[in-house]
Symmetry: C2
Subunit: 339 residues, 2 copies
């Protein structure tokens, strides 16, 4: 297979509030010849993730800002289609941080071969950073014990859907929240959640949560931010744990919404709230992959992806995260896996 040019997505402008299609621009560039020791990779799948919203702004953060006029970046799974590299052979499948583009040339640095016997798109979701994030946050901060009650916001999303299933594997009562009835049905019927709450229809979240958590809340896995946390704080049990993974509802707001009124419930109940960033813990990725990959292979774990096709639709896929258009992981298919 040969190609002479590759399309990529550049950041056209820093978004004000909710990003819009005009903040992105599709460009194309010639694919350079390979120098000795290089590979040409064709991306098969690329990831769009909520954290990318932070990188689109110029606010100082843990991940560097995207530059206006430059290609965006993110996780991708691609196939080596041409190689002069000593070990990365043509046909190999690799993960990289060079998403948002169709092809790239690399010296191999930052590329990691993946086991092609597992579903490739899963490396962007349940076996990738979203899954790893859920696994770490629940296991290392949430520390779930059998019989405890775990509440998960954004439960039908990439991270939440793993957290829900892990909670059930551990033996917790699991309550998930999501923004459509279909997602709620998915949580209870497919993922085994004990209860699901459609936060858009629930009205008073405290009254919705109370019957779903008859023995209180021991762990709240926070993906979303906003008013649910306040309701949770009124139902927490002593020594509850709150891993803060994401607050997607706040990323496009400046200033963000006011926070929970019942924060002082954390004192009497000795609650732990801990923010975390998965890139601090990459040393645990092999342990994660062994455990969660094993569950996936054995069929104990379900995975779901919402697939958008074509690089030109990648901005739309990203924007869809903020309106909840994804069930499970939102991924963009850039080329057939048989490539």
């Amino acid at each position: 297979m040969t190609t002479t040019s590759s399309r990529h997505v550049v950041l056209a402008a820093r978004p004000q509030g909710l990003p819009k299609p005009g903040d992105f621009r599709i460009e194309s560039a010639p694919v350079p010849e390979l120098s000795p020791g290089q590979v040409l990779v064709r991306n098969l799948w690329m990831s769009v993730d909520p954290y990318m919203r932070g990188r689109m702004s110029d606010r100082k953060s843990y991940a560097p800002s995207f530059e206006v006029g430059k290609p965006m970046e993110g996780r991708a799974i691609g196939r080596v289609v041409r190689s002069t590299h000593p070990s990365l052979k043509e046909g190999a499948v690799v993960s990289s941080m060079l998403g948002w583009r169709e092809y790239f040339v690399s010296s191999g640095e930052g590329l990691n071969p993946v086991d092609p016997s597992l579903p490739l798109a899963a490396y962007l979701g349940v076996l990738g950073i979203p899954g790893f994030t859920g696994w770490y946050g629940l296991k290392m901060i949430g520390k779930p014990k059998p019989g405890e009650t775990l509440v998960v916001s954004g439960a039908a999303g990439a991270t939440g859907s793993l957290v829900v299933q892990m909670g059930k594997i551990v033996g917790c009562r699991v309550v998930g929240t999501a923004g459509t009835d279909d997602k709620c049905a998915y949580l209870t019927k497919e993922l085994g959640a004990d209860a699901a709450i459609n936060y858009k229809k629930a009205g008073d979240l405290l009254e919705a949560l109370r019957p779903a958590c008859p023995t209180g809340i021991d762990i709240y896995f926070e993906n979303v931010g906003g008013p649910l946390l306040d309701a949770v704080l009124r139902l927490v049990n002593p020594h509850a744990r709150i891993p803060l993974c994401g607050m997607i509802s706040q990323y496009n707001l400046d200033p963000p919404d006011p926070g929970p009124r019942y924060l002082f419930s954390m004192i009497g109940n000795r609650v732990l709230m801990q923010g975390f960033i998965i890139s601090d813990h990459l040393n645990l990725y092999p342990e994660f992959l062994a455990e969660v990959g094993g569950w996936l292979k054995s069929g104990r774990l379900k995975r779901e992806e919402t697939v958008v096709e074509g690089l030109e639709n990648a901005p739309r896929a990203f924007l869809g995260l903020f309106s909840g258009e994804n069930l499970g992981k939102m991924v963009v298919k850039l080329a057939p896996e048989s490539t």
Copy 2:
């Protein structure tokens, strides 16, 4: 010395919002004869503390509610004035939870002899629960390191004034907040704080805090609740720690004020927020007393008490906590120490 009756304070009514004098009532009762093995204690000092507000309501909490019409309770230091007890002799000084009264009869259970060579009122403050709370929260949750920046709210109060001084002993830059210029002067001139902010005059707390914390904030010791936390969250350094000790500004509000908008800063900065209750950690009291008592004896630590005299003024002393009338520990003197 002989007495036939003793006055005590009963909870007359559960307060709505800010407690008022009518929520308390002074009663008196005859002092019973001693049965064999009992002591009669005359209280010298009693404590009024913000946490008592929670016990005045009937909301379920970590400490049991006071009953309407019954005597209130709290920490006190008293002298044994009559004894048929085998080891608690006349003249011994004991701490108890039987404050809010002039005299009580006891079998000795729950009484702890204290070393009378240290200032007795200090056992209600820097050497008592307020000091122990500050010591535990700063040392075990805040984990201060030399060169870090520590911000303390309610810094001129019973707990805060120890936290400020401990921060300096460890080698932190310490910034305290308080509600009067006199308290701020006390923080910088007496306690060694590097900066002090009068939150009532400061206007925009973020702009007040920023120049006081030129290298960001590593620890925020929360005594007060309310808007300062939000400003802190905009200045936190990675891996900051926030021990949640108290939120006195919220105890009389129903519903409480909205919380911080910038909670999601905890994610990118991997911030730990941990509520705690000192009664979970009483096993550490001897370690605390050795360390802080040592500082006090050697003059390394300053202490301050605001003294109100007479049981009839105990409700007023308690109410004064919510308007910040105390510098250091608010205590009520019930009898001369020479009693």
